[in-house]
Symmetry: C2
Subunit: 431 residues, 2 copies
């Protein structure tokens, strides 16, 4: 066993500790609750949660099932835009206070069937858009945790739970993972069941997962796909990683530029080729295309909510107004350009294993009134690509600087094997 | 005004009659209820419905709103896989008897905001798959209405309501529209909000609409897209229609073959070119690809339901079993072949306006124990194309024979303008 505290174990480490008899689920659950008791008043990651007594009661009532299960009764957090039959799902909205769904989302059902326990619902921005919830960044309480999956990122980064679900339409997993310093994964478009995940934009929404290691992501992905085995391929050393420096998509700060340069130098030292993406204006165009598609679709998806403007934030009203005014021709042109760029991207250089880019413009901005800029994620999300945020780098103030590794559509397995290799072989990204 | 009975008016005709003072919403609503009272005991289209008194009470309580609205307080049916906050949504499943969603699906909210009234929920097969509900074909009660949107098709075809929503994953709108003899429309993949529509398969599900004319479809499409104006383009005479005879995709019967031949001859008489699709084996392969994708995804989406096999039909258990045993490699290969074929299809002949094919192998089969074969729809649905069923043709026994007109992805507007032209200019398809 490592010298980590029990609540700091990754999910895979915790399961091993339970299986080997080095620890018990109950001890780990208690360590998580100790952390929540100590830190939740400042971090405010949870919208709703089971008490320690409720959790342990539920665990003991089904102890034999949990002991034989894959996830051993360990806790997970669920973003509060994902429906749960046993807890409210309020979407960060004043309109939906107390809203109690009748069904579990399929992703929640799959986690529970594998022996995961929903410790609680995590704070989301209003309808997974920009208006922040109450969550603070656990690495510095004066800074934003990022959004929209704010509580899920903070709860995992602050060792309250080993894993949590989120969702991404623009940058809602990759950015908070980067800001809080944890691993974030967004699946390829269409990869997972979206049943019961409240949608924003049908062409863009993806399920996401937060955890402490890529190994954990691989395990949870297998649970969410109802696969009985995890992908047991060896971590895959990449040959060529295409580098897309942030400055080509939108402004990145000097800390991030320095961290990216240092990381690229390390990859080169390992013998990995790191050509730079030259046609970055094509990628940059997708930022605007993504905004167009999102606003157009949000306006249609939130048909009920827009009848209640008095319950909506100014920023959300702005998004609806934008969506109402986008012409169908502009919307279709944006979709067309996105699909053309997606076909072009990997054909330039078929030997590329993955793309490396900053996960955010820099470290988490100061203040809780906004969640930071999403433009570093919009192009990849528009194309429906799988993405992993790798933590480990920091700025001078010790705040996390996340980088993202982007894979080919529907080849999430290869992406994760590449990410595992980087996480175990590259200084600064190692656990 | 026409000499139709009030309940036989198309939606557009009914709105005109109300606006001109020739009739009133109340008179039309009452005519619909008279028809339901007379026919529902035999047709069994409704899973749940408002009583006449409830409906009229709701209408009078908001009469000023309805009079100023686009849809004038006229009734619509909603397939019982689409969530409604005021009525149960049971998905044709024993597991979900009495299930009461907390929200309206966005498509339901949009209809209501436009002045449509949900008269009731229409019978669906179990989870919109094969196991039939109780509905009979209104054109011959001994025959299946088709499925899965059985009640929506039957209610519109039998003049109980002017329009109804359905959904299609394989053939669930196009086939029942063909069997019952009404217009059915399936939107392009991703075209409409799917929020609150219980999903089967995230890569295949589409919203559908049943009505009595393509004009009605154009109006309802504009409501469902939150567009304030309907597409006022003139009906578009096609230059070239690609013909895909059913025999190239799967068996079609002699009645259907004769009807298709007669229709193609008529198109030619009108000066429309009708080349035949020659590489039909590529289309035929999509039948199997579609089955693979659907089974794989259903197994993941219905994570909760598959824990309760005692509540499921044998056919649904079979589908789940199939889905559990499809390898990820086979699933991805099917998706890849579908997208390759979709890119190939229209590039063969860019002057093609639409594709014409049988909507079903023939007329509705006898008996209510099955809903007919879905293979005529699987290829187009796999590619996410918009489709319209055009009624009007019949076999010797007088049963409807439906043909389908298939458009380019996301160009639903052009497809509907072509369909409008055919409906007003081609003998046998005219209203």
């Amino acid at each position: 066993m490592t010298d980590k505290l029990l609540n700091q174990l990754s999910l895979v480490e915790a399961i091993k500790a339970i299986e080997s008899g080095d620890s018990t689920a109950e001890a780990i659950i208690n360590a998580c609750y100790d952390q929540i008791d100590a830190r939740e008043p400042q971090v405010a990651a949870w919208q709703y949660s089971l008490t320690r007594e409720q959790y342990l009661h539920a665990y003991h009532a089904n102890e034999a099932f949990f002991k034989g299960s894959r996830l051993k009764g360990l806790p997970v957090g669920i973003k509060d835009t994902i429906d749960t039959a046993a807890m409210p799902t309020e979407m960060g909205s004043r309109l939906h206070v107390g809203r109690q769904p009748v069904d579990d989302a399929s992703c929640v059902a799959l986690l529970q069937q594998a022996g995961g326990v929903v410790l609680g619902k995590t704070v989301t921005t209003e309808f997974a858009y920009f208006q922040p919830g109450v969550t603070a960044n656990p690495k510095n309480l004066g800074h934003t945790p990022g959004g929209s999956s704010s509580g899920s990122a903070a709860a995992v980064a602050d060792y309250m739970v080993p894993a949590a679900l989120g969702s991404q339409t623009a940058a809602s997993v990759i950015r908070p993972a980067a800001y809080c310093g944890t691993v974030g994964y967004v699946g390829s478009y269409g990869e997972f069941s979206s049943r019961g995940i409240q949608p924003l934009s049908q062409s863009l929404d993806s399920l996401g997962v937060f955890a402490r290691s890529v190994d954990d992501i691989v395990l949870l992905r297998s649970v969410l796909l109802s696969n009985t085995d995890v992908n047991s391929d060896e971590p895959m050393k990449p040959k060529r990683i295409l580098v897309c420096p942030g400055s080509n998509v939108g402004d990145t700060d000097e800390d991030m530029n320095a961290a990216m340069a240092e990381l690229v130098a390390q990859l080169q030292q390992q013998g990995i080729e790191t050509p730079e993406l030259d046609s970055c204006d094509l990628i940059k165009r997708l930022v605007g295309n993504h905004e167009t598609v999102m606003a157009y679709e949000v306006y249609r998806n939130l048909a009920t909510e827009r009848q209640h403007p008095e319950t909506l934030s100014e920023s959300f009203c702005g998004l609806l107004h934008e969506g109402a005014n986008i012409s169908r021709a502009d919307y279709l042109a944006a979709l067309l350009n996105i699909s053309k760029t997606a076909r072009w991207l990997w054909h330039q250089d078929p030997d590329i294993d993955a793309i490396l880019a900053p996960a955010a413009p820099g470290a988490a901005p100061v203040g809780l009134a906004a969640t930071g800029k999403p433009y570093m994620s919009r192009p990849w999300q528009a194309m429906g690509l799988p993405v992993v945020t790798l933590p480990g780098l920091t700025n001078a103030a010790g705040l996390p600087l996340g980088v993202q590794l982007i894979g080919k559509a529907r080849d999430d397995d290869s992406l994760l094997q590449t990410a595992r290799w980087l996480q175990s072989h590259v200084k600064g990204l190692s656990l």
